[in-house]
């Protein structure tokens, strides 16, 4: 997606640009090292995907331009202003505050009597504690008590589900990011096993077996990010490029999961879905 968009913008990997990849493979502890490895090679620009990558890249360099794909850049402090980011960081970010309330509302549409919900978050992701707080406030506003569980390593997932069950959670809001997506199968399988309908941020989690998601279009965000990279390759300065927000939001519902959980999705909600997995 990123490579394809760059190609459309005139930059072909191996022909007129070289892309050096560094993947953490889900390990938070290696991100700083990987970022330093990239920074010392003095690339024209660093594309940093996700909060951990952005944090690491920012620590590694204050001069190499960084294009971020972030969850909540302003809240986390990746930039001080969306319109004038200043410094060496710009890119694309969503704003979790509005999304948190929307997700809680959608879950309540499916489960009108919902009174206790779990929130699963990875605290190593800088924006997630804030997102969790926004979700907790939104839930409380519609009479839902929330149970927070943190997951950092894969064994934490099973432990978190045990805690949700013990605390009598009736649904689960997963604050998706790299860790949950890397462990999507485990998260969604356990949710079905423990009979917990799940709300997600990304449609990819619903494709993996989650119940419902609402969030920005990842493909749009990646395409937008590639646009920033191309502009910087053409000579633009990151400080002069305002941070943009995604404009396309997707509602995805998995009817197979709904059936497995014995749930009926309201027709009014199905009619609004951008994608229904049958």
């Amino acid at each position: 997606m990123f490579v394809e968009r760059l190609r459309q913008l005139g930059y072909v990997d191996g022909e007129n640009v070289r892309i050096d990849y560094r993947f953490g493979d889900g390990r938070h502890d290696v991100m700083d090292t990987l970022a330093r490895e990239l920074a010392v090679t003095r690339p024209t620009v660093i594309m940093a995907v996700g909060d951990q990558a952005i944090s690491a890249a920012k620590k590694a360099t204050t001069t190499v331009p960084i294009v971020m794909l972030a969850c909540d850049a302003l809240t986390v402090g990746f930039v001080t202003s969306l319109s004038r980011p200043g410094g060496n960081v710009t890119g694309v970010t969503c704003v979790s505050t509005e999304l948190s309330a929307k997700r809680v509302g959608l879950l309540k549409e499916i489960l009108p009597r919902l009174s206790r919900a779990g929130i699963m978050l990875n605290p190593a992701n800088a924006s997630k504690p804030w997102d969790a707080e926004q979700t907790r406030v939104a839930a409380r506003g519609v009479g839902i008590v929330t149970i927070l569980q943190e997951v950092v390593e894969p064994p934490d997932i099973e432990r978190a589900f045990a805690a949700f069950v013990k605390e009598r959670a009736e649904a689960l809001i997963v604050l998706d990011e790299a860790f949950t997506i890397l462990n999507a199968k485990q998260v969604t399988d356990l949710a079905v096993r423990y009979h917990l309908p799940t709300m997600h941020a990304w449609g990819e989690m619903v494709a993996a077996g989650g119940l419902i998601s609402y969030g920005p279009s990842l493909s749009e965000m990646v395409r937008m990010s590639a646009g920033y990279v191309a502009k910087i390759l053409k000579g633009a300065k990151p400080a002069d490029l305002p941070v943009e927000q995604p404009t396309t939001f997707e509602l995805v519902i998995n009817l197979k999961t709904a059936k497995a959980l014995g749930l009926t999705i309201p027709p009014s909600l199905l009619a609004r879905a951008d994608e229904v997995i049958k």
Partner: protein, 63 residues
Amino acid sequence: MNRRCLCIVVAALYLLPAAPLAGEAQQAGNLRDRVGYLSLGRAARRRCSSNAFVSWVTWTART
């Protein structure tokens, strides 16, 4: 195989892998712009690219 032939074979084995690497290095040197790509995710395996969710990189780069 006499000793001379053996030496040639051994030398060839060393040189063969080096040739494409040298070519790549030369090509890389010609590329003016470089992009560093950093993600907590997992590198894609090309064989699995049909399953868009197999790798985190589908999220990010090579789909």
